[in-house]
């Protein structure tokens, strides 16, 4: 009996100790994320896309700026990142893994992963893209316009968005900080949005 209580106490101690630094994110003091269930703002998307990325997103010839609602997707995973955020730097390989999983699980037609570089210019986004070989579309947001509209969130920050019948996106879920695993995050997106995998 005493051993059992010792184990319970140990578990509590460990969870409490790790909870103190569980959120791996550059936090923002005035963060006010768009609530789950709310309509997501139709952000203006700027920057430069790699060849082929525009087509996949339904942007003819990759012509920017465009808006979030103009993207060809039923579900969007929006990651708010910054080249300057050490947590986003460490998250980059996991983001690549997530992108590969989306393709591998036959979700790429309906579910798109995009990044928005909070306060990052085209050049700064490009530094991040090249450094980590990012294959999914990254948009710049030098003046923090999109960042402000998204609630001045810390980085990395994830929004899972589901398209409504009227074309707008609604927040299905959100997450501050590094994901535990790409597979886990994708499972969560599938569950929260109901997007179906290709059999």
């Amino acid at each position: 009996m005493r051993t059992l209580w010792s184990v319970v106490f140990c578990v509590f101690l460990c969870l409490a100790a790790n909870a103190a630094h569980a959120v791996m994110a550059s936090e923002s003091l005035d963060s006010k994320p768009v609530d789950v269930g709310q309509i997501f703002p139709d952000l203006a998307l700027e920057g430069e896309l790699a060849a082929g990325q525009g087509l996949a997103l339904g942007i003819p010839e990759g012509k920017l700026p465009t808006t979030l609602q103009a993207l060809k997707a039923d579900v969007l995973v929006v990651v708010v990142f910054s080249m300057y955020c050490p947590y986003c730097q460490r998250e980059a390989p996991v983001l690549n893994e997530l992108n590969e999983l989306i393709i591998k699980r036959g979700l790429a037609d309906r579910l798109k992963l995009i990044g928005i570089g909070a306060g990052n210019s085209n050049l700064e986004v490009d530094v991040y893209r090249k450094k980590y070989g990012i294959q999914f579309p990254l948009f710049s947001d030098q003046l923090f316009t999109a960042h402000k509209a998204m609630g001045n969130v810390g980085t990395p920050f994830y929004y899972f968005l589901k398209r409504e019948a009227d074309g707008r996106f609604r927040v299905a879920d959100s997450l501050l900080g590094c994901m535990v695993s790409a597979a886990g995050l994708l499972d969560s997106v599938v569950k929260q949005t109901g997007v179906e995998e290709k059999k």
Partner: protein, 196 residues
Amino acid sequence: MIGRFFLITACLFLATAPAFAAEDPAFKDSIFKVATLKPTDSTLKVKVGDPMPEFDLPALDGSRVRLADFKGKKNLALSFIPAAWTPVCSGQWPGYNIAKELFEANDTALLGLSVDNVPTLFAWVKQMGGLWFPVASDFWPHGRLAQTLGILRSEGVAERALILVDKQGVIRFIDVHDINTRPDFAALVNAMQQLR
């Protein structure tokens, strides 16, 4: 019994710890919150085209960093930050830390500078996860280089400034930035590219 207790605790701690351990996750929790400050608080004493004043400062690895080390060899970008352990500064050099190739492509060395002393800078950079570029301390005589350049603020810290010096030791770019915001990296990169 006590041994078993510690063994179980250690195992569970590792099992429940965050997956990433390369950088100390306590880094963000160690950052001192700063109120919005006067954007700039000094008067520049140099301009583009002037020779860069000589300097000889201690670096974090115990060596000295001198302007003479770079003359005739590399362009030199100096990144002054106001203070270690503060928000904007702690989110500036990590960005430069993934841009090494850009500096190299433009034949430019990067030097980080602050008026903090060496031990403070050492601890800060270490907890940041390390940097590829050298960092030097302009602590003593306090902020002498910053003062010579005219970027020492009245509260005793340097401005957030970027200064680019060419291989002849001539200043080619100056950005004394709003201390509350991060400088646009593209402006520095453009200036480096113009030296090619």
